[in-house]
């Protein structure tokens, strides 16, 4: 997929591009509004990651321009201003999602995937992990024919780790993804440990869960490699 990163902080844009390139996206960068406007008009992008705080351009105008195209790209708005009104305005104009700086690159990737599934109507497939089948549509986990009862948070945790399979996610990254609606101050590394513990406890009576791995001092990952 083609992604245009509109971001006036060059270093930030480069880090985003580096991460997304590793996730097999084709990335282009525009650091000023005029350049972005031109690129959006000329090239076909699937995604535009739009920082609203551009020095020469009102970011919301870029969004309006993009939305007028025959095949408009999906827009994910990024801002460090964090004003509630800005977010509402952006979503009203037609942005597909919104991320506040400083966001996690893992989270950015997850948001892009989610928008892509919604926008391009990609049917989410079921994921096989160990002896379990994770049905992403109706959000249930099955072992053979038996459903394993998980709470919403436990399922979210499992799914997020699965989507980032073979990658260690830090507790902060996991916490932000699942408890992102709470104020930052509530962060408690213990929350993740408790939920992982419960997840293991609920799955392990059915089959081994050695694929949920603890990366010492860093976080957790799902890996089927030995």
């Amino acid at each position: 997929m083609n992604v245009l990163i509109v971001e006036d902080e060059v270093k930030m844009a480069e880090e985003m591009a580096a991460f997304l390139t590793r996730e097999h996206f084709l990335c282009e960068i525009a650091t000023i509004g005029v350049e972005a406007s031109e690129k959006i008009a000329v090239n076909l992008y699937d995604f535009v990651l739009l920082d609203l705080g551009l020095p020469d351009y009102n970011g919301l105008d870029l969004l309006k321009e993009g939305k007028m195209l025959d095949t408009p790209p999906a827009f994910i708005i990024i801002t460090a201003r964090g004003a509630v009104e800005e977010k509402v305005k952006g979503l009203n104009i037609g942005a597909d999602d919104y991320l506040a700086k400083p966001f996690s690159l893992v989270e950015l990737n997850a948001r892009i995937q989610a928008v892509a599934r919604r926008k391009f109507k990609i049917e989410s497939s079921d994921i096989q992990i160990g002896e379990f089948l994770v049905k992403t549509d109706n959000r249930i986990v099955k072992h053979k024919e038996k459903t394993v009862e998980l709470t919403r948070k436990e399922f979210d945790l499992l799914l997020y780790l699965l989507l980032n399979k073979e990658k260690t996610l830090t507790r902060v990254q996991l916490y932000e993804h699942i408890w992102g609606n709470l104020f930052d101050d509530q962060y408690d590394s213990n929350f993740i440990d408790v939920h992982i513990k419960n997840l293991r406890k609920k799955l392990s009576p059915h089959a081994p869960v050695d694929w949920i791995k603890t990366t010492r001092g860093v976080g957790y990952k799902i890996s089927e490699e030995e």
């Binding site: 509630v84 700086k101 902060v172 509530q186 408690d188």
Partner: protein, 438 residues
Amino acid sequence: MIKLRYKLSLFNILSKLIFGVLFLILMPMILERVNTIQTDNQLIEKREQVIDIISQWGVERFTDSGYENAFGSYNILKEEYISLEKVELEHNWNFIEVTRRMIDNQIIDYRVLNYSFYVDGQMYLLEIGKSLASIQQTEKNIQKFTLVFLAVFLVFSTIFDIVFATKLIHPLEKIIKKLKNTPTPSLYGKATPNTTTSEFVYLDKTLEELMQKIEDLFQKERQITSNISHELLTPVSIARGILENLLSSGELNEEAAIKTEESLRTLYRLKTMVNSLLLIARVESHQYLRNESFSMVELINEVKSELDIIAEDKDIALDTDLKEEKWVKNANRSLLFNMFYNIVNNAIKFTPQKGKIFLTSGTINTQFFISIRDTGIGMSPEILENLFMRFKNRSAHPENGTGIGLAISKTIADFHSIEIHVESEPGKGTEFIFKFPS
């Protein structure tokens, strides 16, 4: 405190009462005077009639028909009498006096006109009397009538006064209602109350201007927080991107990975700090709307279900007794949710294993409250004193968050006019009571 319209009416009633009492005191004197003049006039008129008759028919008509040398007549109830007799006086009499007369063995006070005159060289004395009892009777009748009239007047004018005052004050009550229903200054209603009283229009206009001024200040603060937010969070964002890329490249050895994660956590703390301060500034400058209505019991239950697992892990019982329900209006649900979440989460943090936490709702003096009580480690009076100050409690429990959570909670409570009371005893536990405005 007395309502203005009652005050106005009360003042009116009082002034009327004073006037009425004064009138009641003075009335008998006035009436007596008026009556005396009137009676005297009547007596004089009767005298003229008698004189007329005598000059026309002669005095014999009277003297012949009665006893010797005298004539007397009175009406059946002895209210009036008339007498004529021959007398020998040194001077002519012509005066009115009050005297006592004996008629048919009955003593009656009369107001009597005495008038002497000559007919054919003979002096006659004419007496015309009117009983005082009959005069006083008239007086009493008039007094009674006036009293009834006065009472009826007082009642009707009071009702009229109250109705009028209510109507007069109505725009003021409308303005107060408008103020009360204004969640943020920018939403103060532009509709001027329908009134012809210039003061009320002026009051409304002044309030509107004041709201505009506050709104302008808020607008400025919004701009400032937005800029601070941008300036502080952009570098954090870049550093985070760099470190996350480093970590997920998979090229780091174990020690480097651990150090990178530590740096990320430190950055997260910085972000938390900035966002928390910005949140307080945003709540204080009314960047959050207060336009939701919802059930408080439902919200507390939601907080409980969010934290049940954490409490369970520490073997802490999270008990609820939420019999008292409250439908909150003009509130921000997500802010209140975070406030209670923060307090309950704190209670879990500071309660040892196998402890208890109680979430209760109830009413004290018609005020709805939510109480969060734990059997935790409690707080010393010194900590309690500075509990809601930003950064003050940092040193007390450095491992548990930034210590700004309570400051945020206080800001959210203030934003909703909720009072927070904290009672705590070291070693016994802590209770947070949130009193809602009634």
